[in-house]
C-alpha cells in the first residue's frame, strides 16, 4: 500500500467514522435511557437528508443545515412524547416493535412523497472546490467541511455532557431516574429532550451525508445495521465506546476497499500458487477473493467475534 492510499484512507476513514459517530452518539444516549435500541434512528438520518435536500432548494444549504436537524429533532421529540412514552408501559418488546414500525412508516412516507429514485442532492456550490492537494490528488472541501462539523459536534456534545449541569442531569437520569426527579428535575422532559437532540444529531448527519452517500429511500436500511454493529461493539450505552467503534468501523471499511490482498497472495508468499486440489471447490472459490471484496462484511464479522468473546463490548458495562 502506498503512502498516498494510506493517507486518503485515513482521511476518509476518519470522516466516515465521525459521520457514523454523529448517529451512534444519539443512538447510544437513547439506548442508555430507554434500555432498547431505537430501530428508527437511521430513519431520522434519512429524514435529515431529505429535509436537507428540500430545504436547501428553497433557502440554500447553510440555513438548511440548521433548519432540517431542528425539524428532525422536533419530530423525534414528538415520537417520544406521544408514541414511545405511551408504549413504555407495555415493556421493552413493545418499544422495540414501535421503533421498527416508525422506521417502516418513515420509509414508506418518503417513497410516497419523493418517490423511489435517488434525489439530486448535490454538494453546495460554496463548498464545491478542492480544499488541498496531497500526492497530486485534490481533497474536496465538502468532505473537509463534513469532518470539521462532525468533530465540532462531538466536542460540543462532550463539553455539554461533562461540563454542564444539564449534562449532569442527563447522566444521572440515565442511571437513577427516580432519585433525579425527587431532586426536582423533570425527568420525562429530560428524556424527551435527549431523544430530540439524538434525533437532531442524526438529522445533521443526514444533511451533510446526503450529498455524498446518495439520498434515496434505502439509505436508512443500508446504514442501520452498521450503527447497531457500532453500538454493540463499542458497548451498549457507552459514548466513549461508540466513538472508538465508529472510527474503527470507518477505518475498516475504507482500508478494506483499498487492500487488494487475497488468500492466493498470502500463500503466494510461501510459494504455493494453486489451492491444493484435495481441499475441493470451496477452497478454490475463496482462493481469489480479495479483502476489498469482503470489506462490507468485516464489520459484521467484528460484531460476531465481539459477541462471542466480549459481549459487553469494548467499554460497555452490561452484556
Amino acid at each position: 500500500m502506498s503512502a498516498e492510499v494510506i493517507t486518503f484512507s485515513l482521511l476518509n476513514g476518519t470522516l466516515y467514522g465521525m459521520l457514523l459517530f454523529l448517529l451512534a452518539s444519539g443512538l447510544t444516549l437513547i439506548f442508555s435511557m430507554m434500555g432498547v435500541l431505537n430501530f428508527a434512528h437511521a430513519s431520522f438520518f434519512m429524514l435529515g437528508a431529505y429535509f436537507g435536500y428540500e430545504i436547501s432548494g428553497i433557502v440554500g444549504f447553510f440555513p438548511a443545515l440548521i433548519i432540517a436537524p431542528v425539524l428532525v429533532g422536533l419530530f423525534g421529540a414528538l415520537i417520544e412524547r406521544y408514541g414511545l412514552r405511551r408504549v413504555h408501559k407495555f415493556g421493552h418488546l413493545g418499544e422495540l416493535l414501535f421503533t421498527i414500525g416508525v422506521a417502516f412508516v418513515i420509509e414508506e412516507a418518503i417513497q410516497m412523497i419523493w418517490g423511489r429514485s435517488p434525489m439530486d442532492y448535490q454538494v453546495p456550490e460554496a463548498l464545491n472546490f478542492t480544499a488541498f492537494e496531497i500526492f497530486g490528488t485534490g481533497y474536496p472541501a465538502f468532505r473537509l467541511f463534513m469532518l470539521i462539523m462532525s468533530v465540532a459536534i462531538f466536542a460540543g456534545l462532550a463539553l455539554l455532557l461533562t461540563r454542564t449541569r444539564v449534562g449532569l442531569i442527563v447522566k444521572a437520569s440515565l442511571t437513577h431516574p427516580e432519585m433525579v426527579s425527587m431532586l426536582g428535575h423533570d425527568v420525562p422532559l429530560v428524556f424527551m429532550s435527549v431523544f430530540g437532540v439524538g434525533s437532531a444529531l442524526a438529522g445533521v448527519a443526514g444533511v451533510i451525508g446526503g450529498p455524498i452517500l446518495i439520498t434515496q429511500p434505502s439509505m436508512a436500511a443500508a446504514l442501520g445495521p452498521i450503527l447497531f454493529v457500532i453500538v454493540v461493539v463499542g458497548g451498549l450505552g457507552s459514548l466513549a465506546g461508540a466513538f472508538i467503534a465508529s472510527l474503527l468501523v470507518g477505518f475498516i471499511q475504507t482500508f478494506a476497499v483499498a487492500i487488494d490482498l487475497s488468500v492466493a497472495d498470502v500463500f503466494g508468499l510461501i510459494g504455493v500458487t494453486q489451492p491444493p486440489a484435495a481441499l475441493g471447490a470451496l477452497v478454490s472459490d475463496i482462493w481469489n477473493v480479495s479483502v476489498s471484496q469482503v470489506g462490507p462484511v468485516i464489520p459484521y464479522l467484528l460484531l460476531v467475534v465481539m459477541l462471542i468473546f466480549r459481549p459487553m463490548g469494548l467499554i460497555g458495562k452490561r452484556a
Binding site: L168, E178, M179, L183
Partner: protein, 241 residues
C-alpha cells in the same frame, strides 16, 4: 439538643386519609399526619408497617388517594419533581448517590436552580467537612456513612422547607449514628421541618418533638417522646421485637 419549638407554629404538612397502593397491594389504609414548621417528627414502627411507603406517597412516587396539603397548597396527584419544587425534600433509605459522579456533582444536582436558599455549597461543606475534602472523588467510593451524609446534604442544598429522611442510621457505625442525629438537629435549627423514619428508638426519642407509631398501614399512636415512654403497651405491641 433539639431546638425549641414554637407551639403556635403553623402546620406545614397536613396528610388526611391517605391511602396508597404498590401495584395491586393496598399498603396505606387512611393515614392522618401533621408536621409543623420547624418540627422534628419521627415515624416509628416495624418493617412493613408502611412508613417508607408513606414518605413515597407524600412524594408522589406511588399511587395514592386522600389529601396531602403542604404550606396550604394541595399536592394531590402532582409529579415528584413538582412536589420537590413545592419545598419537600426526600432522602431515600437506599442511599441513592449517583456513584459515577463526584461528590460536588452530586451536590450540584441537588442545588436549587434559582435564587439563594438557606444553604450554600460552602455551608454544606462546613456542615460535613469530609465532603469538602472528598469533593472531587466519585460518590461511589465514599463509605456508607459518608454516602448517607451526602444524600442528606444533596437534598438539603435544594433548600426544602421539609426534609423527609428514611432510615438514615441503618447499618451505620455508632459514631456515625450520633453524627447523623447531630446533623438533623442542626438542620432543624435553621427552621427546616424533619419527618424522620427511624428504627432506633433512642435517636427518635432524643431528637423528636413528636412521634407517630405505624402498624399495618395505619397510625396506631401519636404523641410526644415522653408520652411514648409512658405507654409500654404501645411499645410492646408495635415496636419491640
Amino acid at each position: 439538643m433539639k431546638p425549641e419549638l414554637n407551639i403556635t407554629a403553623e402546620t406545614l404538612l397536613s396528610v388526611r386519609g391517605l391511602q396508597a397502593w404498590y401495584g395491586k397491594s393496598h399498603i396505606l389504609h387512611g393515614v392522618d399526619l401533621d408536621v409543623k414548621r420547624g418540627e422534628i417528627v419521627s415515624l416509628l414502627g416495624r418493617n412493613g408497617a408502611g412508613r417508607s411507603t408513606l414518605l413515597k406517597a407524600i412524594m408522589g412516587a406511588v399511587t395514592t388517594k386522600g389529601e396531602v396539603q403542604f404550606g396550604g397548597q394541595s399536592l394531590g396527584g402532582q409529579k415528584p419533581h413538582r412536589i420537590a419544587h413545592a419545598g419537600i425534600g426526600y432522602v431515600p433509605e437506599n442511599r441513592d448517590v449517583f456513584p459515577d459522579l463526584t461528590v460536588r456533582e452530586n451536590l450540584i444536582l441537588g442545588l436549587k436552580p434559582k435564587g439563594e436558599g438557606r444553604w450554600s455549597m460552602e455551608d454544606i461543606f462546613d456542615l460535613f467537612p469530609v465532603l469538602r475534602t472528598r469533593a472531587e472523588t466519585n460518590a461511589g467510593s465514599l463509605s456508607g456513612g459518608e454516602q448517607q451524609m451526602l444524600t442528606i446534604c444533596r437534598t438539603l442544598i435544594g433548600d426544602p422547607d421539609l426534609i423527609m429522611v428514611d432510615e438514615p442510621t441503618e447499618g451505620l457505625a455508632p459514631k456515625m449514628v450520633a453524627a447523623v442525629g447531630e446533623l438533623l438537629e442542626r438542620i432543624a435549627a435553621k427552621g427546616v421541618s424533619i419527618l424522620l423514619v427511624e428504627q432506633k428508638l433512642v435517636i427518635a426519642l432524643d431528637i423528636s418533638h413528636r412521634l407517630y407509631v405505624m402498624g399495618h398501614g395505619e397510625i396506631v399512636f401519636e404523641g410526644t417522646p415522653t408520652g411514648l415512654m409512658n405507654a409500654p403497651e404501645v411499645r410492646a405491641e408495635w415496636l419491640e421485637v
